[in-house]
Structures are given as C-alpha cells and as structure tokens.
Symmetry: C2
C-alpha cells in the first residue's frame, strides 16, 4: 500500500532521538527504546544498516552506546530512510530494469521514476536538525495550549 515499513519509521524516530541527545555522548539503546516506546530487540536490527551507511558510531561494553557520526544538520532524513528501506522508488523496475521486459517502452516506469525523485527531494530537504527544531516547537505549543 505504498507504505514505509517499521524499519523506516522506527529508524527515523531512533535517529531523531540520537539527534536530540547529540551532546550527551554515547546513548544507550535501552534508553532510546524506552523513550520511543519501541522494542529494544527489534530496534537492534536497524542499527547495522545505519552504521553501514556511516550515519552512527557505536561503542561496545560498559559506558558504550550509540551516537550520530555527523552533526544533526549534516544528516538528511533521506539518508536515514534510504539506508533502511533501500531505493526510494515506487517500483523495482526503475532501479532494476531487468525485472521487466517492457522497460524500454513503458510509460508508467517513467512516471514511477519521477515520483521517486519527488520523494527523494522531499526527504533530502529535511535534516535531523530541522526535526529537532520541530520537536522543540511542538513542546512549546503543548505547553501553551494544553495546560
């Protein structure tokens, strides 16, 4: 149904959490899981992908944990989602022409390609820093209106 899987969705929240705690050194997965209300065991599966993409660093053992490999302003949501979900295109044929013999004359493929580019652009325009700012503003709003 044209949906992100939990990989992309949880991954975005995980990285936002790391961005919020960017100045706190290494952050425990346990703590992220608790704050984000995501199963620690499942979230563990996301980390190798984020690490392979050069987005996070980790330290094992006591006092270990995870932290961003770059400043929040240097990491776009596109990198995060792409590292977890693969190519941001709505159809496989765009990125792997061999899956369909109609690629050379298929009009829908051209359109799927365009849609993928729009998705990429949108996600690329949002950095983790932007998201932290958005979060701060949300907190302020709820303080103003909900109390």
């Amino acid at each position: 149904m044209m949906k992100l899987s939990t990989k992309g969705r949880y991954g975005a929240r995980l990285m936002l959490d790391l961005a919020i705690h960017y100045d706190d050194g290494f952050v425990l997965l346990k703590d992220i899981a608790k704050r984000q209300d995501i199963s620690e065991g499942y979230m563990e599966h996301l980390l190798p992908h984020l690490k392979a993409a050069g987005l996070i660093n980790s330290l094992r053992g006591a006092r270990g944990g995870y932290k961003l490999a770059k400043a929040p302003s240097e990491i776009s949501l596109k990198e995060v989602v792409q590292s977890l979900e693969g190519p941001l295109t709505p159809a496989e044929c765009v990125v792997a022409p061999s899956v369909c013999k109609r690629v050379s004359f298929c009009v829908t493929r051209d359109i799927w390609k365009e849609v993928g580019e729009k998705i990429s652009q949108t996600l690329e325009s949002v950095t983790l820093k932007d998201m932290v700012e958005m979060q701060k503003n949300k907190g302020k709003a709820s303080l103003t209106y909900n109390i």
Copy 2:
C-alpha cells in the same frame, strides 16, 4: 520497501490501455491482459475498485467489456492509484491517528504527511491523456532510433 504493489502498477497499465483504446467502445479484459502481459484472472481483482471509484464502466455478456467512464484527460493517475492502493501516505498514522498514541507530539508524522502530499501532487498532475501522449512519443522515438 516503500513500493507500490502490483495493484497500483498493473492498474496504471490497465487504465493506460483503456485510454489508448478510448474510441473503440467496450474493450475485452482478455485483450488488455494479452497486450499488457498480465494474468487475466489477477487483473480481474482490480476492476471492482476502479469501478467503485467511478473510473470505468462495464458491460456484461457478449459484446461486453470495459471502458473509461470519463475522457482520458479527466482522469488523473492519482485517482487510479488511490482507488487501488488506498491513501497515498507513507505511514498509517497520518490518516488513522488512533494507531499510535504519539501522534500529538510526533514530528515524523508531520513529515510523513508532507511526503504523502508531494506524492499526491505528482500523481495528480499526470492524466491518462498525458500518458497516451508519452506513449506515442516513445513509439516515435523507437521508430527513429531502433530500426
């Protein structure tokens, strides 16, 4: 993986085929299936959705078949995909807030919503007529370069 299912992909091709044969009256599913190289039995499952969305008309019995309910220029790809895949949003929470208790303060949700709007805009800007034109140009190009 942020992909359309075959419903959306096959549906787009089905509707393009109907648009190409818009002046030929009722078109046989059998013929569409043959031209598009899609299993007739499977494609049958797409038609009720397209009909419910008011995009096609059908006639049973001998001399029956399917045809567009409106001119190709009056049908956007968005309507087609949406009728088959449901809401064009990358996360369920955007359209069904009850699935997650974090919606009120979740930043990622705001972003998923924005991405969904971009996808909608892109698909809405393409009509079946546009796609027919694209197809014609492709045919011309292949005639020029491939022979």
